[in-house]
Symmetry: C2
Subunit: 353 residues, 2 copies
């Protein structure tokens, strides 16, 4: 098969981790007789520096023309303390999500047996955790009307959802649940918010189309607790944009393997794969960043975007092997163990595929 | 001294835990020569059953006339799966907060050395944790305009904040930080929300009035992570209503002592003290609920509402003693240890004051 992949390395350690994912993807493609055509494009702070906007039109066209997008990370400390700067990298991210119609962010949290002791949680709490959040990504308070009134003394943000937006996200949730343990949790704040009540009634109405799926409804505050107490009691969770932002980040640290968690954003025009970690600016250029989350994001891309399960499994298998054999960057290396460089981990993966 | 306290026992285990807090408060009052006049009033599901509304006018008048309010818990399972029922207990809670002007919810999370192993977190992660959230409680998306459009197909909620609302909450945060380690964290989502940008600029402008306080600004998703990773790195945190709802609940489980955490809501007309746990309907009437969070809420009331520090310390000391000696309800009793009844714990506290 032949694929066109848009390559958005982004800022900070983005280019370094993307580089390793490209190496591994190319090696897999060679092994299985595929051909990948990579098209790099700018996004984030580097795009602002180069062309003045964080998600240039040219980048958008490259993404639209691609079979999938592989994304690194964006963000630069020079924007961190000035969230009201007129142009910021995050705007690029939001614009990209909206223009590409990436309405479902797929965020798994699972554990690696060899890393379980890195978790801040006790072993018996985290063992067996394997959950997936589907976060709505192009609606809600992120994209509603916002602004100031009363000479700037009053600020407002509007959270809006339509039934159709909820349905298309929930549909993915039900379908995903059907491929797993058939348990779906709808996370909302229906005791307070009207948008949450729309979410809940919409999901309730869909239950009869999926009679095998057991649906539970939980308030966002209760989920924030149970994620820490009994993360392994969850399977598939669906939720709106802002709740998803908070809860998926909370979920990402409980496994102790944040540096390894991949993610996908799927939607109308294409799909995008990225590690969940940030641009880690302090590590930029040091060749120390952990590339495994990006490599595992490439695996998700092979499986979900191209339907190539065997290729994906081969990538996951070699990642597991590297973990077992301690071929890892400094964030995962034991106290007295050798820490490998970002590129050394990538080389090892390629050599051991 | 003489105090009038409004007593809102509420639903579920509310009346049982309130009962013990009253016993302990009366005993303390006697010991220190104070006189307490308790005025019971209805709120929650029991108020709906009795008079059709969850926060009757009569209850409001009793609260307004009181020096402080001691509150149990509200909520009943018959409302749980129907968040769009026309009358619900939570509405009473929100109305009460609004009408009493309880704009600051004070939620400490701390650890008890004897209970630290109950935490889902590893000991080294949780040890030393002693943080306080100030959650804004009468503004934001809870109280903004909400409704439906397009024949019910679109729902919206509006989050609104004024500079004055942020200032009065932040002022309490700065003042509290001054009495502690002089560290204040402002939690927002200023990279996306206009209300968060107002929060941030308002707090930034107040920094110069408190030159000794070190202020940090963190995004809500980052805080959701760090609370699990390094809870003891926080001291005082201020945040808006919805973020506070999620984060304070997340924080409450990390200590492993959720059943012991008190809280206060302070504001314009009076102040209210309540345990952070819920109405625990399954345990209603069984005399097994842990009364200590309510007893510790009464201690907060003595200290903060009445300025009686010695009395508060005496309550805290006897609570600590009960924990050390294992005079605890079943939620805290060790596997082979005796579990005391709710009322037995209260009796023991009174006898050992
Ligand atoms: C950078 C920010 C706008 C973004 C979000 O809130 O969606 C990030 O936190 C994420 O989760 O991808
Ligand atoms: C019951 C509900 C409306 C309430 C809230 O969200 O404020 C509760 O979760 C709380 O935190 O006191």
């Amino acid at each position: 098969m032949k694929f066109n992949i848009a390559l958005l390395a982004g800022d900070g350690i983005g280019p370094e981790v993307i580089n390793e994912a490209v190496k591994v993807s190319d090696a897999i493609a060679k092994k299985f007789n595929h051909e990948i055509n990579w098209t790099p494009a700018l996004t984030g702070a580097c795009a602002i520096d180069a062309v003045g906007v964080p998600y240039p039109d040219e980048t958008h066209e490259i993404c639209m023309a691609a079979d999938a997008v592989l994304f690194g990370a964006i963000g630069h400390p020079k924007y961190d303390n000035d969230p009201s700067a007129p142009v910021r990298p995050e705007q690029g991210l939001l614009l990209m999500r909206k223009k590409l119609g990436l309405f479902a962010n797929v965020r798994p949290t699972f554990t690696f047996p060899s890393l379980i002791d890195n978790s801040p949680l006790k072993r018996e709490r985290i063992e067996g955790t394997d959950l997936i959040f589907l976060r709505e990504l192009t609606g809600g308070i992120y994209f509603g009307e916002k602004g100031r009134k009363d000479d700037g003394e009053t600020a407002f943000d509007t959270c809006t959802y339509t039934r159709v937006e909820v349905q298309r996200l929930a549909k993915k949730g039900f379908e995903l649940a059907m491929t797993r343990s058939k348990k779906l949790c709808c996370v909302d704040k229906a005791n307070v918010l009207e948008t949450s009540r729309l979410w809940r009634e919409t999901v309730q109405a869909m239950e009869k189309e999926y009679p095998e799926v057991t649906v539970s409804y939980e308030f966002v505050d209760a989920v924030a607790m149970r994620l820490v107490q009994w993360p392994n009691s969850y399977d598939v969770l669906i939720t709106e944009n802002l709740f998803g932002d908070i809860l998926t980040d909370e979920a990402s640290v409980i496994s102790g393997s944040m540096g390894l968690m991949p993610s996908a954003s799927v939607g109308e025009h294409t799909s995008l794969y990225e590690p969940i970690h940030g641009s880690y600016p302090q590590a930029t250029g040091l060749n120390i960043a952990n590339p495994l989350a990006t490599v595992l994001s490439a695996a998700m891309m092979f499986e979900d975007a191209f339907g190539l399960k065997e290729e994906a499994e081969a990538i996951r298998a070699v990642v597991n092997k590297s973990l077992e054999q301690g071929i890892v960057t400094e964030d995962l290396a034991g106290k007295d163990a050798k820490a490998y460089k970002t590129s050394e981990v990538g080389d090892w993966l390629v050599a051991n595929l």
